[in-house]
């Protein structure tokens, strides 16, 4: 195998693909990057069996072939190269690849390419396309609400529901739930699957195009793939029954509060400086008299309080939350104002964006002594 490509393109491709390389590999070759050069194209692959990423870049291929290089050293070496282009030359007898760029010459040991479990493109019964900015928003507004507790796998992923005319994404860790819907008209078939948060956060990180692009999604009963630009991502799905989220979302609220997003977020962030040191990160909110009084205390550190103006429709409410469950969602809200909807002190509350019926966030309050 022998080829030349652009250094910056290779560095970018490696940054993306390497996220799928295993850090604690079941077999050594899974910590490597698989390279295939043919027909003026270089294909890079990495997989840890859970997720897989393929990226294609242009290359001047003199001799086709496949190799596997250690993800870590391949990345470090590539980033350090001084030239604009990089040339690769595989020496099959010595099992090494020579990497040359301007004055720099490296030789990296190869891993056995025939042992690498190359990713096969998914073919499934359900496929649809979605604009990347819409997909990104679905992820951004829900994936943060997932659990990180591997003991209960269904909560470590987002539920994706494809219906006749809409796509819905839902995530919950049982203490909070985020729901986001998008109306789409090109759907043919329905599905209900749980996608690991890990592949969604990789997608979110990678989708950086300035002009909206189409992402092609293919689902099977146990796998999903995303194809766009020069990239192909695939992931196993999470098995299990996602809870019936309709039962979790209250149908009506007695009190609806309108708040300035930035001012309220900044105040909660400040007040929670004191709460954070405690075990449950509890802030108390007292809605009444045209304002919300935000309060936290910790007997060993001190206390914090702040008032933020609020438009309150309905009875006054005193309620307490884990501060992180409030700030996490506010960081995803782009409208200048938002609604905080409440019932009683111990009932779940809702956070909604202004003028957006397609998003809702439910948070369970914390019981406090006061």
């Amino acid at each position: 195998m022998k080829f030349t490509c652009q250094k910056t393109e290779l560095v970018q491709a490696l940054q993306i693909v390497s996220k799928a390389a295993a850090s604690k590999p079941q077999m050594p070759v899974l910590s490597g990057i698989y390279l295939k050069a043919e027909q003026n194209q270089l294909e890079l692959q990495a997989t840890d069996y859970e997720i897989g990423i393929i990226c294609h870049i242009e290359a001047e291929v003199e001799e086709a072939g496949t190799i596997v290089l250690s993800s870590r050293y391949f990345q470090e070496v590539t980033r350090s190269l001084p030239g604009e282009t990089v040339s690769f030359d595989y020496d099959a007898a010595a099992q090494i690849t020579r990497i040359t760029s301007a004055s720099a010459n490296f030789q990296l040991m190869n891993m056995p390419a025939n042992e690498f479990p190359t990713i096969t493109q998914l073919t499934g019964t359900l496929s649809f396309t979605i604009k990347d900015n819409i997909l990104k928003d679905l992820i951004k507004k829900t994936a943060f609400a997932c659990s990180t507790d591997e003991a209960r796998p269904v909560f470590t992923g987002c539920l994706l529901e494809v219906g006749e005319s809409a796509v819905t994404m839902v995530a919950t860790n049982t203490h909070r739930l985020a729901f986001k819907k998008e109306n789409l008209d090109n759907l043919n078939g329905s599905i209900k699957i749980i996608i690991p948060a890990r592949i969604l956060s990789e997608l979110q990180r990678i989708m950086v195009s300035e002009i909206p692009e189409e992402v092609k999604i293919i689902c099977t009963y146990n796998q999903i793939s995303f194809a766009f630009d020069n990239l192909y991502l695939t992931s196993r799905l999470i098995e299990g029954q996602f809870p019936d989220y309709h039962r979790v979302i209250p149908t009506d609220f007695k009190t609806r509060v309108t708040l300035e997003t930035a001012a309220f977020l900044a105040a909660v962030d400040r007040v929670s400086l004191i709460a954070r040191a405690g075990e449950y990160n509890v802030i108390r909110l007292e809605f009444g008299a045209g304002q919300v009084h935000i309060f936290s205390n910790n007997p060993e550190i001190g206390q914090a309080e702040e008032n933020v103006p609020a438009v309150i429709d309905g009875p006054d409410v005193n309620i307490a939350f884990n501060a992180k469950y409030v700030t996490d969602v506010l960081k995803t809200i782009t409208s200048e104002q938002f609604y905080f909807s409440l019932n009683q002190t111990l009932n779940p509350a809702a956070i909604r964006e202004m003028d957006n019926e397609l998003f809702i966030y439910i948070v369970t309050p914390v019981r406090t002594a006061h």
Copy 2:
């Protein structure tokens, strides 16, 4: 105690002073920041008995007094404040301090101010002033060469020698040595002390003035202080005998190589990507035929090599070094070219700046199988 000050000034002062607060305090109050308000001035102090820092900022003092607040929470709270000014009000009965800034209200628990070991200004037999840019350069060119091994304390600090007309700073970890001299004409007395690298790196970090300022240094047999701007730093000295560095610096070299600083540093950095994975981080240098061939290998990863043009006066030399001992010093060199002076394969080598006789760096080679 009651006073008001500017938020940004307080944040900056806290950033500096807090570096002297103890992270693992011998007694709890040493993890705090001592505040003294009087005569339109706020004094901040922190010390862990080894080093101490005092900073003064302007304040509108309504009621003089002293308090001690937890360094961690005081910093976090201050940084988060929304207003331009901050007001402090100490409630002696409750042992709390109220902190108010725009809409934000905090109450922080106090530590007992009478238990705080306030820093007393040093008076010593030897004192002199030095421009901060000169002091910074003395530190930058030597302190990196110190050891971090606390088992041999003398190597964890820089030797400061004040003579009749020059100040010299020297650091070594026994494998390398950095020497820097500055000619000064305002010295009255001589001294030879070992200053902990920690206070020197704090100084280097703090000295950010654009216009050179005078730093007043006072030395006693076991302490040193640095005063400039609104700051006062003090540190214990390291006891013990610093090795006779004159014996370590070779008087002549058979080969003198002139190299481009940036090109050689970049090449050594790249080649050492492979060396770094090994235990001793070894790079080999072959000086000859108008170039230096830089080489490293690791049987498990691969190898790297690069040639850099060199002007070689004297016999060819093949030699090996710990790559870090070469790159560390090159990062402090500002001249476009530098001299690498060598004798035989196993003799110490020297690195010097172009046109600067006042700096020399000695590095011991590594024995290799080749």
